[in-house]
């Protein structure tokens, strides 16, 4: 039997597939929903300056290409700088598209609160990648990226899509389904 600290909610093993409200307060649920939507909008807006097909690779470089070159010119972590120099920059069209699709998806899914815990983990990984590229770049405030990381950790820990998001609406039907995909969605929401 599990007793959640700070709440009156108790989950027994009989209720393993049933929900236990993590946030009993309506105010807390609203705040978590606002944080999720805010983080989603962060990714959504910043997908906008990822501009295919060259993603800023030109003379002079700008946009995503310029940001990525900082991993080499203002090195944060040697092996990552080597990887960017030898693999990412020479194949930048591919990696530019990957960044665009990942960040646009982060915006899309966090905004609507679908598979939120999965996308929170993706957001953490993408934030670390960004940190490894530009943490030592000029005019960057490293706490901004630490805060991004912490925000995604909060979304994951609170299963933020269950509050004002589609995860909260759809989990009951996923829980009632025997399909593997539905079970997967229960786990990532």
């Amino acid at each position: 039997m599990i007793v959640l600290a700070g709440t009156d909610y108790v989950a027994g093993t009989d209720y393993a597939t049933r929900a236990v409200p993590l946030l009993p307060s309506r105010v807390n649920r609203a705040v978590i929903a606002i944080v999720r939507v805010g983080v989603g909008l962060l990714w959504l807006q910043n997908a906008g300056w990822k501009t295919p097909p060259d993603f800023g690779r030109g003379d002079p470089p700008d946009g995503l290409y310029l940001s990525t070159t900082y991993a080499v010119s203002h090195q944060v972590f040697g092996p990552y700088a080597w990887l960017v120099d030898r693999l990412v920059l020479p194949n930048f069209a591919f990696f530019g598209w990957m960044v665009l699709l990942v960040e646009a998806s982060l915006g899309a899914f966090l905004l609507i609160g679908l598979a939120t815990r999965f996308w929170a983990v993706v957001g953490m990984a993408q934030t670390v990648v960004i940190m490894l590229s530009i943490l030592n770049a000029p005019h960057e405030w490293y706490w901004a990226y630490v805060l991004m990381l912490l925000a995604h950790m909060a979304l994951f820990a609170t299963a933020a899509g269950r509050y004002g998001g589609l995860d909260g609406l759809l989990r009951p039907s996923w829980q009632g389904s025997r399909s593997r995909f539905a079970r997967l969605l229960v786990r990532v929401s």
């Binding site: 049933r18 929900a19 236990v20 409200p21 009993p24 309506r26 649920r29 989603g40 909008l41 990714w43 959504l44 807006q45 997908a47 906008g48 300056w49 990822k50 501009t51 295919p52 097909p53 060259d54 665009l100 960040e103 646009a104 998806s105 915006g107 899309a108 899914f109 905004l111 609507i112 679908l114 269950r162 509050y163 004002g164 998001g165 589609l166 995860d167 909260g168 609406l169 759809l170 989990r171 009951p172 039907s173 829980q175 009632g176 389904s177």
Partner: protein
């Protein structure tokens, strides 16, 4: 107790989000979260209204239609961006991201089975 009402409300909210996004036709600079052009405005308003009506009337076919419409619009915007321009839709990757979310959301809600309400679903929608 059923949770269909909650799903309908979800579709309605997604439609309202699309309609509200139309305001970004007039917002530029720092606070322009998404780039909406003239044709994009039509997409946002027509499909958003369709989603609102679908949620209001509990019409799952309409939800799926609106969702499919957003996904097609997102795909077209992405293809246009791949050509190096915003194209006739006038959007950018933010527009793609927004329409992707609305499309996936409406399709997910439209396809959802209607289970008995659980304590969690009630908590989530309160």
């Amino acid at each position: 107790m059923r949770t269909r009402d909650s799903l309908d409300r979800g579709a309605l909210v997604l439609g309202v989000v699309s309609i509200v996004s139309a305001v970004f036709v007039f917002v530029h600079g720092t606070f322009q979260l998404v780039q909406i052009g003239a044709a994009g405005l039509v997409v946002a308003l027509v499909l958003g209204l369709l989603a609102v009506v679908a949620g209001w009337l509990d019409e799952r076919a309409l939800m799926l239609g609106a969702g499919a419409g957003f996904l097609i619009a997102a795909a077209v915007q992405l293809v246009l961006l791949a050509g190096g321009r915003s194209g006739f839709l006038g959007g950018n990757a933010s527009t793609f991201s927004l329409w992707l979310g609305l499309g996936v959301g409406l399709v997910a809600v439209g396809l959802a089975a209607v289970p008995e309400a659980t304590e969690e679903s009630l908590e989530a929608t309160n």
